[in-house]
Amino acid sequence: MLYREAGQFKSSYADDQRIFPLRQDRHAFWALLAAAYVGVPLLANDYWLQAILTPVLIFSLAALGLNILTGYAGQLSLGSAAFMAVGAFAAYNFMLRLPWMPFPLAFVLGGVTAALAGLLFGLPSFRIKGYYLAVATLAAQFFIIWVLTKFPWFSNYSSSGVITAQVLSLAGYKFLTPVSKYLLVLICVSLFALAAKNMTRCAIGRAWMAVRDMDVAASVVGIRLMPVKLLAFAVSSFYCGLAGVLYAYCYIGTVEPEAFSLDLSFRILFMVIVGGMGSILGSFLGAAFIVLLPIGLDHILSALPGAWLPAGFGSNLQLMLFGGLIIFFLIVEPQGLARLWQIAKEKLRLWPFPH
């Protein structure tokens, strides 16, 4: 009986346009934030921070980026990981070559560089759509990784293009512990998730969705398709780029271009599909699901009396599970986990009545 909206009257459009119009939702959200900012740093151990929470948050950011492009603006991309790579390598070079630069600025510039790359590879969307565009984004994937591997300048002439993230320090404080890195990621992700939510509920979000749903009608309403699509590419790549920066600086530490492979791009796409196309919440749910699935699988398999399991069984099972789940979600719930969550909430609102 706790989840009721009785007695909550919206007396202005501002009230109705809040992110969480229901009071219970608002309270739950603040509680979640408090848990993430206070509870987790106090309670979680290093394994949880480093191996689970930080990557989930980072990939949520990447999934948000792809979701803006694919879920909201309807432009399919298979090159998200390449834009992560651009972000990571750009931030590395800004900090390396301009040592005076405070790292938040380098992070943002990393994202901006990725956005510019995204803009460039988004140009073909003027002429093509659908899977033609998807193939075009493969060009970004292969070309960018090749450039970062073949031109040693980008990795400061290290062997095989590996970069080692510099120590982050701000006003004398060094981000060395898992907790500090986790909090840094959390701050970035919450800020940009809020920005994404704001964009998608405002005019630009509606323009993106209009282009996605019916481009002819969108142009008749007065939307200029090209700038709107390009903005989606730029914003999306910025998010992916920033995720790449965080991946290098707060998660892996030492990273080579090949880490941002086509496989990673696909996994980000899977996060969006499983989580829910066109949903901010879905980006988080999908990222958590896709990051946690292999970890959970490993735990289960290692718990089995598994001497009889062939080598590489886990990773192949993982591939099959990913593939199977994608097909399953596309068939059964194309709007993903976010939609399931919404259905559950509606059920709860009406409980104990069936309708």
Partner: protein, 311 residues
């Protein structure tokens, strides 16, 4: 060797390997025409087919007690691989295509990405992930006759592969032109609803076409596998069929062939002539960039029809 001779040699090598791209692309085109699905899993199917063949060849002596060098073994392995592809086609139609009928093309496309993951996991899960050699009995050596007469190095294997590709393409073209299935397929490609309404069994056509695509994948897998070894990287090679399709258009068999030739030749030429300037590895991205540039100029492909959005 003169500059021109060298150029011709590179070009010939590129054209011959281009026919192999065309072969993979052919599988895409068949499926696209019949079911409107852009089948991203074609590369995975190539990998699966080759791995199944090699795997059967390894395991069969133990299962059947035949001598490891028996000719019968090869045929048995081929038959089993073919049967596996057939089963796969039936399963895909039943479990993926049918539930997703009438969904937007983008959804189907993403489903085939999932399918690719599933097939790759399945193939390696069943047969193991180690790289294997595949022996077709044709040596990858220069042809003496060509070398003597023109001074160019043309691989015997490349020529053989090109011959197989050409035979397969011609055979399929004839099959689709003259058989009942072929006519039905063309009707389906033209208009699903209309084809259904004159009594063409859509599901059957899909199964047949996916099975044929499986057969094409097997042939491509054998040839690619014999050249580069049967390994996961095969799926990346097969991905190059995508730029081939963009160049040739998704619905055109001749387009797939010409596109394959262009991609094969241009990437070899780029590797040889641009590669040294930029540190090599140009082949990994060149076809995609070529396709990208091409799209900007002619989005409908070489053989595709220009069409206008009607509202």
């Amino acid at each position: 060797m003169s500059e021109l001779q060298f150029f011709a040699e590179v070009l010939t090598g590129g054209l011959l390997s281009g026919l192999l791209y065309a072969l993979v692309a052919l599988g895409f085109v068949l499926i696209y025409k019949a079911s409107g699905v852009f089948n991203f899993a074609q590369g995975a199917m190539v990998f699966f087919a080759a791995l199944t063949y090699v795997g059967c060849l390894e395991k069969l002596p133990r299962w059947t007690g035949l001598a490891a060098d028996s000719v019968l073994l090869v045929w048995l392995a081929l038959l089993l691989a073919l049967a596996a592809m057939l089963l796969l086609a039936l399963a895909i139609e039943r479990l993926v295509l049918r539930p997703l009928v009438n969904q937007p093309p983008q959804t189907l496309f993403m489903a085939t990405i999932g399918l690719a993951y599933f097939i790759e996991g399945l193939a390696q899960g069943v047969w193991g992930a180690n790289v294997r050699g595949l022996e077709l009995g044709i040596q990858d050596v220069p042809m003496d006759w060509v070398l003597d007469h023109t001074g160019m190095i043309v691989s015997r294997f490349d020529l053989f592969a090109a011959g197989v590709a050409a035979t397969l393409v011609t055979g399929l073209a004839l099959f689709f032109r003259h058989s009942r299935v072929g006519r039905a397929l063309r009707a389906v490609a033209d208009d699903h609803q209309a084809a259904l309404s004159v009594g063409i069994p859509l599901a059957t056509i899909w199964r047949i076409v996916w099975a044929i695509a499986g057969f094409v994948a097997l042939v491509s897998g054998l040839i690619w596998g014999a050249r580069n070894g049967v390994q996961f990287a095969l799926t990346y090679t097969a991905l190059k069929a995508l730029p081939v399709l963009i160049l040739g258009g998704f619905e055109s068999v001749p387009g797939a062939i010409v596109g394959g030739l262009i991609v094969g030749a241009s990437e070899k030429l780029a590797e040889v002539y641009i590669g040294p300037w930029v540190g090599g590895g140009v082949e990994s991205w060149f076809p995609y960039m070529l396709a990208l540039l091409f799209l900007l100029i002619r989005p409908e492909g070489l053989f595709g029809e220009k069409h206008m959005d009607r509202v």
